[in-house]
């Protein structure tokens, strides 16, 4: 099992290489990618900021929970920070398991939990030169509602 927050570019193949086993019949790779639009606006890039001292611990926690669903420890997740261009990979999640249902479930769990509680924020840079923080989700069990609107969603 592997959970990393890094500023280096993500190589999906290397993430995939961390999973797989002769026992496994299913391998699943999810990539979150910076796209060129958001809420009808043209986007030219995205800046990812993390609370680094905390984020890697939360990501490991999420990976551990997902591994229970998966039934194997063959799970690798990497989240990127810094300045990303359109098409760059912001998050990669690779899992493998004997049967496919567990891989789909665990992969989905990781990305949903990342969006709920990984201390990461992103600022959209628009083609028109403006920029704004993407409205996010208040982490659960963390002291209640936030003043900022709770919407969110990216990939």
């Amino acid at each position: 099992m592997r959970a990393v927050v890094q500023s280096d570019p993500i190589d999906p193949e290397r993430v995939l290489a961390h999973v797989g086993s002769d026992e496994d019949g299913a391998v699943l790779l999810f990539l979150g990618v910076v796209r060129n639009h958001a809420d009808g606006r043209s986007v030219r890039g995205m800046h990812y900021e993390a609370y680094e001292a905390m984020a890697s611990g939360v990501l490991r926690e999420i990976a551990g929970e997902a591994a229970e669903t998966l039934g194997t420890d063959r799970l690798s997740v990497v989240h990127r920070t810094g300045e990303l261009a359109i098409g760059e990979v912001s998050v990669a999640i690779a899992v493998s398991s004997p049967h496919r249902a567990e891989s789909y479930e665990a992969s989905r769990y990781v990305i949903e939990e990342i969006k709920k509680r990984l201390p990461v924020w992103k600022k959209e840079r628009y083609v028109d030169g403006e920029a704004s923080w993407v409205e996010g989700t208040a982490p659960p069990g963390s002291g209640g509602a936030s003043a900022t609107a709770t919407t969110g969603d990216a990939s």
């Binding site: 609370y51 001292a53 912001s90 990461v120 923080w133 963390s142 509602a145 900022t148």
Partner: protein, 83 residues
Amino acid sequence: MSLSVRTLFFAAYRDLLGTSELSVEVAPDATVRDLVRSLRDRGAPFDGLPEQPAVAVNQTYAGPDERLSAGDEVAFIPPVAGG
């Protein structure tokens, strides 16, 4: 008597306050709620923080009733948007 904690502000909160880090003095039996209240009581721009922001104490999410200790790292976590 008071104790000192290290507060951290990220993303939109940092932009709001114009700073990413502050050392704050709180009473020895202070909770997260007390810390938030004392910051908001400073007025603008601190009163722009939510009444119940998500907070992590020493890199773990903490509720408003959690007690603080000297030297704690208390991070104010805006709504997250990873992925």
